[in-house]
Symmetry: C2
Subunit: 230 residues, 2 copies
């Protein structure tokens, strides 16, 4: 079967989300890099690059992400593969898109070093190629997934209060959640376990700190990154 040559270039791009302060609230942001060559010279695009000859797809996503932004995501999963023949005006490009999450400190560290702009997700428009469409799909999937999978913890540190976890969910979903009901749902799901420590220094009652529980039984052949271990 090897031998049928294909006139397509194989690329990988990543939609990475993080939480940053914006207008007094935690809001979802993603990093954009400005292109310095044709096509779409000067336009912003998702970080990415070409897939190397001897690396896996996820490996390529991590490498290109590090090269273009310096980011090391805490969560990474394959999203979709785009391959319309007219995606790029200069030739056939098939792009495997990954979706990722990074913690805020990592995001802040990187913003100062690289040529990266963190844009609020609802202000992302006019990207190169079909990246507007890609971002919309990634956001839709993240919002759906936060309801049934424990992805939100990847935007927080080792331990966190349930109030912090609730703020993450609120930022992703874009609407307020009832604190008491949220607590009940999360604790009952077994996705977190309580520690003995409390978060001090706040203005009000010190909340207990929790830790994410690593899922044990596989949901399918794969699930850590929500896809096969290919």
């Amino acid at each position: 079967m090897v031998g049928g040559a294909v006139a397509a270039s194989l690329a990988v791009s990543t939609v990475i989300f993080t939480l940053l302060e914006h207008e007094g609230a935690q809001r979802l942001h993603l990093p954009l890099v400005r292109r310095t060559r044709e096509p779409f010279d000067g336009a912003e695009a998702l970080p990415g690059g070409w897939i190397g000859g001897d690396e896996g797809l996820e490996e390529a996503a991590r490498r290109t992400l590090a090269e273009t932004t310096g980011l090391r995501p805490s969560y990474l999963e394959q999203l979709y593969t785009f391959g319309r023949p007219d995606r790029s005006p200069t030739g056939r490009v098939v792009s495997v898109i990954y979706s990722a999450l990074v913690r805020s400190p990592e995001a802040a560290r990187v913003a100062e070093v690289h040529n990266v702009r963190w844009a609020p997700v609802d202000e992302v428009r006019g990207l190169a190629f079909d990246h507007d469409e890609v971002v919309a799909y990634a956001l839709w999937r993240l919002r759906a997934k936060v309801g049934y999978a424990q992805v939100a913890v990847h935007l927080l540190g080792e331990t966190f209060s349930l109030g912090q976890l609730r703020e993450v969910h609120e930022a992703v979903l874009g609407r307020p959640l009832d604190p008491a009901n949220f607590r009940r749902r999360v604790t009952a799901s077994g996705a977190v376990e309580a520690t003995d420590e409390h978060l001090t220094g706040g203005r009000h009652r010190p909340p207990r700190l929790y830790r994410a529980v690593v899922p044990e039984g596989a949901t399918g052949p794969f699930q850590t990154t929500a896809g096969p271990a290919a």
Copy 2:
């Protein structure tokens, strides 16, 4: 950006499911084609082929499916892209996998013409490349999806009884469902609409025939094929 050459061949393969009679019950089957060249000469594999230079990914999936099996699926969606460097012993191959459903008459028609074997899904083992893994993932996704999306109707004809629809769900999930509860869930969901006709000729009370309701409002940027319209 075009110019970064990639030493990978781009292929597309499809996991197609249909319902066939097996040991007195409707069971899920999928078509396998026997390879006639290296690598994995003589082994069975999923139908597929190379992606053409001027066609979309879904287009390529339909074309290769028709060429190797003659099948025209009633449902087709992108599943996952596999790209481990060592997937194929003869060179780097990245495969975009599609998942599909075909109606039984179409499947029966094709089996006589092409070199295709319909295998019960739980007896699929020893396929070429990493196709065992691919099939397991496709099956896991189908089972998850049948619970919240109206995919089962694509295995039936224009009209069908709720008993027939229930049999489809039972075959996919591999366990019996309560007829009364199934009826209540399906009718309440609005996924089907009743016709005035009844299915006659059966041994028992003639069931009313239903028709699938075409979903209107989009769930996200995409949904007909559960992915972007790329």
